[in-house]
């Protein structure tokens, strides 16, 4: 695990940030960040060369999964008691509705703030595909957010 200890603090910060932006709850975000780091620890040799975007991707997927689980128990749209800014609730709903690949590109590109070339590398797709997924995903997100 050479390098994992050195990279841990920065990657945990990234995972927590991505998770918190999506789930909006500290306990859930901490759990997602810890799970992401445990997975990174398990397969460090494979992920170390693209550890940050990998962390963004896994944390983003886990966060959206958590939102979906929560929505099944209590639909987001019917949760006015949650003291949550409206835009986060909308973001959760809109992200949950995106196709997986579009969502991963959006999370990596716009929440994880990763460059397009890095997104292409970590997802194993072409740069053009990243651009098209980002554009379509962003358009879908905006339409969804506009619909409220």
């Amino acid at each position: 695990l050479d390098g994992f200890e050195d990279a841990f603090a920065g990657l945990y910060r990234t995972a927590y940030r991505v998770a918190y932006v999506i789930v909006g709850q500290r306990a859930d975000a901490e759990d997602i960040a810890a799970e992401t780091m445990a997975r990174a620890c398990e397969r460090w040799r494979k992920v170390e060369c693209y550890a940050e975007p990998w962390t963004v991707r896994v944390a983003g997927n886990l966060a959206v999964d958590a939102v979906r689980r929560r929505a099944r128990m209590q639909p987001i749209a019917a949760a006015p008691t949650i003291a949550e800014p409206l835009d986060r609730v909308d973001l959760q709903r809109a992200l949950s509705r995106l196709p997986r690949r579009q969502r991963e590109v959006v999370v990596l590109r716009f929440i994880g703030d990763q460059p397009e070339t890095t997104v292409a590398e970590v997802l194993g797709i072409g740069l053009g595909t990243v651009k098209s997924h980002a554009a379509r995903g962003l358009t879908a997100l905006r339409l969804d957010l506009a619909d409220g």
């Binding site: 909006g24 500290r26 620890c41 973001l91």
Partner: protein
Amino acid sequence: MTADELAHLEDPDPPVADAGLLTAVRARARRRRQRRRLAVAGSVAAAAVLLGATALIVHDSARPAPLVVSAGDPAPEDAPEGDVARCFPLVTGSRPDGVARPATPRAVDVPSWPARLPALLVLSADGDVWVVDDGRATPWAPRSRAGGVRYLWARWDGDGTVLASRWVEGAVVIDRVTASGAVQVVRFAYTVAAAAPPGVCPIEGKLATFAVSPGGVTYLEHSSVWDHSCPPSLPTEPSTTEDPWRCRSKEATYGAVFTDATGATRAATQRGSMAGAFGHVAADASGSDVIAMAFGDAPPGLQLDQPMGAPCCVIAPPTASAVSISPTGARLASTPDGHGVVVTNTSDPSSGLQLWREDRSVLGTASTQEQLVVATDAGFAVGLPMLPRTVAKGPFHTDLGPILGLAPTACMDLASEEITARPTG
């Protein structure tokens, strides 16, 4: 939208990753590994199914010359979920949930590999495409980056490349695979029928298995709900109101679509319909358009057909696995009981005879005009007419060692490909 625009959603006071948290994360990683080991130990029974997912095909023309394709690897994919997973049993049955695939495969030597044997294509239970040639097993289109690709089905194409299918969200994708990489050939989108009843494959579209013949590629189509003929009911039988499925099937594999290598349709037929059953291509004949379709539970029922040709063939044997067809479609090899290797003339279902028995479970067979290759979980057995079979140690279960079995006692007339002698012992 930019990261700055989302800044107000961030936690203004995020936790600090200290040494204690690092220790907790490492403990969590250890627990994950332990759970995986337990899952492996508890899945011995599932392993037979897992290993049975291995498909094995021999390319019986010239040895393939690897074609260099300058393109990136296909994207890693997730596995289908829910009832959609029923439509792609080869991938979903390959590994229990939570069990990681092995590390990226590397080329290995296969001791005792017979000389002059055509290159052998093997699709492993992990969905990796391997080619065994000249005593060396080489992974084609090796997995890379995060996740990797899990192929469901693979066939040699006539130019020495491999066509392999994989699942992506909402579609089946066919890649052309070579030693140096893979490129997407065609993407067949499917829809999930809203009216699909639970417990059956719900997709409307092409399945992942296909057959390759000199004229093109044949795919099977699937429907989630299939209306069929409805004879008048007897007084004692329920009406269609009482039983909505009396005149319709919950699913059907209803026909074949014949395409060229790019996926463009050349012909379509509803021959080979299997109302009420999920079916898939079990084997094809490289020199003809005879295909074997399997349907139902293990051991699956078999049906031979020439979907685009004249009515063909017999249903023989009625149930079997590890099926392969000789190049002309005249001979079928299979194992009805998982151990006995049986060859049957497709024109005569009573002609089946057992060539030999494997102690280990037979995973797959492959036929050329002259050779029959059998894969078990201990390696490969290669049968040559009139000669004892050769046993070659395979690359996937090297800890089990080679099998030494009975010599084949049947003779084959190579000119007609039909069995001409009974076993003598």
